[in-house]
Subunit: 437 residues, 2 copies
């Protein structure tokens, strides 16, 4: 019996206080996901952890497993919701991602990355990747092109190197590249990943599979008109293996305005696909893994990971305290600077009177305040990134402990069943019980 | 016939102008490597690319394949020399690595990472990892412990996720952890890697396998005395698979002073081991891979990677120019600041005379110079990191193109041979040629 796997992908455009109707759109996305019940939902640009937690609460009934990938200053923006247990998660942060002083583009602070989760579906090892590459702000003068090409290079490297043991590979996300762009060709020809849009048996959606269209009220129309009303920059890719054949049954995109709603889910269109997985052997992956790891080793591993998690928590506590200190010192520096400016303003207003306060001390104090403000800002950003990285590691460890404990339970249950089976066999038919070597 | 694999690992302590006898020690290391002819040499703390290039030139005859892993501001310091073709390289930079303002510790600027290379030895896929974790400056008050634990976590995650397709896994390097430390336990129990020191059939070296000892004239004796004259913080680990069984035949360390030399190779001891690889199937990995990729696809891939490399080179050129501009502007700011200070110094020396230069402009100019100096320094560091990252990607791409072209050549040769074989067969015995499906 082939397994069916429904995948959803959306760039949520979730910049709190800046993206239009952010909270309402998250509520709509939550409603859509809990109604449609895809197996896996891959979300990008979930910049705020609060929004992730909102979705997590809302989807608790339909998608009990989730993971939020933390990195950089704001986070990677990547989130995954799954109906199947997430056995493992791993994050690779791209080495290049724009420039910190291009703050209005903001990519650098986001810490863009590719996240990977590991699922086991009908005995098949399914590796699911989600990513979001650097935005393209101008196609003619794209100063970020080398950064995006390096990101595509690292993406294919990461997928290739980490999916050797996979039965099925799936990649979804906003790649910010057109279908014939260098990065897409690099990715596809190196990894052998197939584009759902090209492979699907049935397609329902925007013309040419566009995922960023002029019909969407949130997009800048002028930018998209030269491309015929839209561009295709969001993708779902897939690949089978010797152990599993995969085909794409259907692909659908939203088409801008949503019937019965005031606005669409995002400035990007949603993508959803149905994949069919034909197993060649069935259930082999899991049993092999369980053989590798005896109960004793597993529980030892749980203890070690728990110990590591404690250590990371200690570091997290320290980093949070340092971030707080940086913020407090920075605010004090700012207050002092404002106070000084206020003092300076008095003689300005009182024109004609002589200036009495000592100039040298004034400028020195001003320079000091400025230096404090600058350095604490840098420290705040740095500690913010440290906190995110430590939280990310701790999350991965928690997930790992959960998965290990599950395996331990299954393993013990299996052992108990085997034992009772053996005992039963022993009473019923002694001939069937084999001697130990 | 089992294959034999000799691995070497050394933390070279290669800080130009700071480490003692740096140039002479590199010459000694080069002599040792070209004499001993290990299959793979894993070096850490090769901080200067010039030193890597010196070794590369020196080892051109014995170790024609090499890779230098670039990351961070100074680089990762990781270098590999191999007698066997390096088919692929990949780098994972740890998300946490100390603090930029702890400049005297310098770890942050190094951008510590784990590098991976892929070798094919006697038909077995051998994945070799090299790494260097954050230093431990104080065992009692180790404020970097959470960072090192996260690094160990990421290291095991990277190895586990990227070595599923490996027949043999080898990890060497300076882990800066004692054998029973949390990070080592985490690494070993999660990945199943075995420590050469515990597994070797014959050991020749320092007591308890120490790799950082009081007998070495470059070490701080006081720090090591509490640990009984040395610590073991450098390791070589290995692991086989279903397709290959691996055993460790011998392990050796240097023992401080080298007979006939004035000083040792480094402040760490050298590690060298001989592993024996028993293949279960033999040569399967390669043929399967070749089947996957037809000639046409391969040459297309070569073109795409070459195109990407060009794009990265454009970015590199731009980043180098920006780094140069930052340096030039910074030097101008510094010159202006010094000039101002010189002007300011005149009234100081001429005590009693009245100060005539306008104070406000003076301080404003000073603050401007300072701001320029600070921001250009930050920019210089940032562009330095960008250059390193782009160079790293370009190196990987060059390596990939080389390996792809090699495969293409083999494939074409194989195809030609098959064709001529078929033709010969066709003439000699038509019955053996099978019809196509």
């Amino acid at each position: 019996m082939p397994a069916r796997l429904r995948i959803f992908s959306l760039n949520c455009w979730g910049i709190r206080y800046l993206s239009k109707h952010c909270a309402q759109r998250y509520a709509m996305i939550g409603d859509l996901l809990s109604k449609e019940q895809h197996d896996v939902a891959l979300l990008q640009e979930v910049w705020s952890e609060k929004d992730f937690l909102f979705l997590k609460k809302k989807l608790g009934g339909t998608h009990p497993y989730s993971h939020y990938f933390k990195s950089g200053f704001f986070g990677s923006g990547l989130a995954v919701f799954s109906k199947h247990r997430i056995h493992d998660a791993f994050l690779y942060k791209y080495t290049l991602n724009g420039y910190p002083y291009m703050a209005h583009h903001g990519d650098w602070f986001g810490g863009k990355a590719v996240g990977k989760i590991l699922l086991n579906i009908s005995g098949l090892e399914v590796h699911v990747f989600v990513t979001h590459l650097h935005a393209e702000y101008s196609r003619e003068q794209d100063s970020y092109l080398p950064h995006r090409v390096v990101q595509a290079w690292e993406l294919q490297n990461f997928i290739r190197h980490t999916s050797a043991g996979a039965d099925v590979v799936i990649l979804g996300g906003d790649l910010n590249m057109h279908p014939t762009d260098l990065g897409i060709r690099l990715l596809q020809s190196y990894t052998g990943l197939k584009d759902c849009f090209n492979e699907t048996a049935s397609f329902d959606g925007c013309e040419q599979g566009f995922t960023h269209i002029t019909d969407n009220p949130f997009t800048h129309k002028q930018e998209l008109i030269p491309f015929g009303g839209g561009i295709r920059i969001d993708y779902i890719f897939f690949k089978g293996s010797e152990r599993a054949r995969v085909s794409c049954e259907s692909l659908a995109t939203s088409k801008g305005p949503i019937p019965g709603q005031l606005f669409p889910y995002s400035d990007h269109e949603t993508l959803s696909t149905e994949l069919v997985l034909y197993s060649a052997e069935g259930g082999k992956g899991d049993s092999r893994k369980e053989k590798d790891c005896a109960t004793e080793k597993l529980s030892e591993l749980v203890n070690i990971v728990t110990e590591a998690r404690t250590e990371v928590k200690v570091g997290l506590h320290y980093a949070e305290r340092m971030r707080y200190t940086a913020a407090r010192t920075g605010i004090m520096g700012l207050a002092l600077l404002l106070l000084e400016l206020a003092i300076a303003a008095v003689p300005c207003f009182a024109l004609g009177t002589e200036q009495h306060f000592p100039k040298a001390s004034f400028y020195l104090l001003g320079a000091l305040c400025f230096t404090i403000l600058l350095s604490t800002t840098l420290l705040y950003i740095f500690y913010g990134m440290e906190v995110k990285a430590l939280q990310g590691a701790e999350d991965q460890m928690r997930l790992a402990v959960g998965s290990l404990q599950e395996r331990l339970k299954d393993f013990q249950k299996g052992a108990n069943e085997n034992r009772s089976q053996k005992e039963t066999d022993g009473h019923d038919d002694p001939a069937t019980s084999e001697p130990d070597d």
